[in-house]
Structure formats: structure tokens, C-alpha cells
């Protein structure tokens, strides 16, 4: 019986394109606010809110609400767990593409 390839089982939380884009942006900067994430990912406000909330619940993203003068600012940071998840997702997907080619 031929040997079957290992099952493709990426981290579902990272695998979703919107969340992957959020993680990639936050991986490139120290911290960013909601508007920056909107501009860089091209997501809608609703989608971005929903994705960041899921990433925060998973411990991949830290969310801090602050004020600049009287204006509220929500600042997002990638956590160590988030960085590790993104890194292992990339390694996993590179392995999958290598196996396919």
C-alpha cells in the first residue's frame, strides 16, 4: 500500500486570509491602530473588528484602548504566541507546497 502524505491541517485561525493579513501586518510593525490595519489589509471595518476579536481571544493579538488627547485610539500588537503561530503556519504551508511540487 502506498504511503499517504501527512494530512493538511493548518492552524484554522491563521489560515483564514483576512486574519492572515492582519497577522502579517502586525508582524511587520511594533504596533498599529485600527485605521492602519484597515488601510493595509483592505478589509471592511466589520470584518476587521471580527477578525481582531478572534485573534485576541486566541491570544495572538493584544488590544489596548488609549486616548490621544480626546480621541480614542485602539492599538494592536502581535503577541509572542501570534508570532509563533504565523511562523509555524508559514513553515507548514511551505511544506505543503513543496510536497505538491
Amino acid at each position: 500500500m502506498p504511503e499517504l502524505p501527512p494530512p493538511i491541517d493548518p492552524d484554522r485561525l491563521v489560515h483564514e486570509p483576512g486574519r492572515l493579513a492582519v497577522l502579517a501586518v502586525l508582524n511587520a510593525v511594533e504596533e498599529a491602530d485600527f485605521v492602519f490595519l484597515l488601510q493595509q489589509t483592505g478589509l471592511t471595518r466589520g470584518n476587521l473588528s471580527s477578525h481582531t476579536a478572534k485573534l485576541e481571544r486566541a491570544g495572538y493579538v493584544n488590544i489596548n484602548k488609549t486616548f490621544v488627547g480626546k480621541v480614542p485610539r485602539t492599538v494592536y500588537q502581535l503577541t509572542k504566541a501570534g508570532g509563533a503561530a504565523l511562523s509555524s503556519y508559514r513553515i507548514h504551508m511551505a511544506g505543503v507546497f513543496e510536497a505538491m511540487s
Partner: protein, 206 residues
């Protein structure tokens, strides 16, 4: 579901975002003019004054970013470099540039002649700033930073080759020329940034 998404491209664009407003170039131009002026007045205090200008000048740039940049593309902070590797990289490069300067003076002049050292100051400045802007280009991914780096080394070498060494005119002209180029690129970058990025209504977030 497919995940056809260029994460490396997203990260590259996010890193470049910190530089697209042209304020970094304008700030660098101001610093270079200040150093050139200090070199004319009193070369002894160039280091201290430049450190002071860089430290406090950047706070002014940050305030301008709060008013101009962040309302347009959002607030973001660059990921800081790893201090030890940055320091060792900088020292290594400056050491290398200094070694080239010494070699150039030894090969084409007299090591005991002070005028040769003054003449070669533009060589040191050209090589040193080449390293700085090439590194900036690595971080930003912007072609204009690579161009400034190459311009720096070419003009630094040229001014050394044609200089007399009677005074520090070579390094002063090198700094002023580079400052002029940076100011032009900065103004162009700022105008382009303001035209292409309207103020975003922050609305409700999260």
C-alpha cells in the same frame, strides 16, 4: 478554501508605510545641514550637536506625523532593530569605512599630512552615509533610499578626488549636496503622500 495571499508583500508594504510621507528624508536633510554648519563653525562639537539634533529633532517629526501622517494612513510604530546586532553592524561598517579612508590616504597621499585627512573626510562621510541609507533601504524597501546611498558614495569619492584639503570644504559640500537631494525627495514624497492619502474618518474602531 485557498489562502492565496502574499504575506511577504503585505509585510513589505506595512514596513514601507513608515517612510512614504517623506518626513524621514526631510529630517535627515535638516540633520545634515546642521552638521555641515557645525563643521564650518566648530568641527569639535559636530558629534555632540548631531546627537542632540537627532534625539530632539525626531520628537518634532513625531508630532508632525501625529498631525499629517496618522490621520491619513493610521498610527503605527516601526518594529525596533535588535540593539546589539544594529550596534555591531554600525561599528563594523564605520570601522570598515575608516579603514578605507586610511588606505586611501596611505596610497594616494601622506599619512602625516593633515590636509590629506581633511580631504579624505568626504570619503569617510560618503561611505558612512552610504551604509546608513543602504540599511534604510533594506528596512523600507524604497528605491529612493538606495539611490541616496549610491549618490552619497559617488559624490564622497568624487569630492575626495578633486579636493585640495585646504579646509573641510569636501565634506561640507558632500553633506550639503546630500541634504539638497534628500530635501527634494522629501518634499516630493510629502506632496505625493498628501495627494494620494486623504484623511480617513476614524469612526468607530473595534
Amino acid at each position: 478554501m485557498t489562502t492565496n495571499i502574499d504575506t511577504a508583500g503585505i509585510e513589505r508594504r506595512a514596513r514601507a508605510a513608515a517612510y512614504q510621507d517623506g518626513l524621514t528624508e526631510l529630517f535627515a536633510a535638516g540633520v545634515l545641514v546642521m552638521i555641515a554648519v557645525m563643521w564650518v563653525i566648530t568641527p569639535v562639537f559636530v558629534g555632540i550637536v548631531s546627537a542632540f539634533v537627532v534625539l530632539y529633532g525626531w520628537k518634532v517629526v513625531e508630532r508632525i506625523k501625529q498631525r499629517i501622517t496618522y490621520p491619513r494612513i493610521g498610527y503605527h510604530v516601526e518594529r525596533p532593530d535588535e540593539p546589539r546586532s544594529t550596534a555591531s553592524g554600525m561599528l563594523g561598517f564605520i570601522g570598515g569605512a575608516f579603514a578605507v579612508m586610511v588606505l586611501a590616504v596611505a596610497m594616494f597621499g601622506d599619512l602625516t599630512d593633515a590636509a590629506e585627512w581633511r580631504r579624505a573626510a568626504s570619503l569617510l562621510s560618503g561611505l558612512g552615509l552610504f551604509g546608513g541609507f543602504w540599511y534604510l533601504g533594506d528596512k523600507s524597501g524604497l528605491l529612493r533610499h538606495r539611490f541616496v546611498a549610491i549618490y552619497s558614495v559617488v559624490t564622497g569619492v568624487a569630492l575626495w578626488a578633486i579636493g585640495t584639503g585646504a579646509s573641510y570644504e569636501g565634506v561640507i559640500w558632500h553633506l550639503l549636496g546630500l541634504a539638497a537631494l534628500l530635501a527634494a525627495l522629501g518634499v516630493w514624497g510629502l506632496i505625493h503622500f498628501l495627494r494620494t492619502n486623504p484623511v480617513v474618518n476614524a469612526g468607530s474602531d473595534a
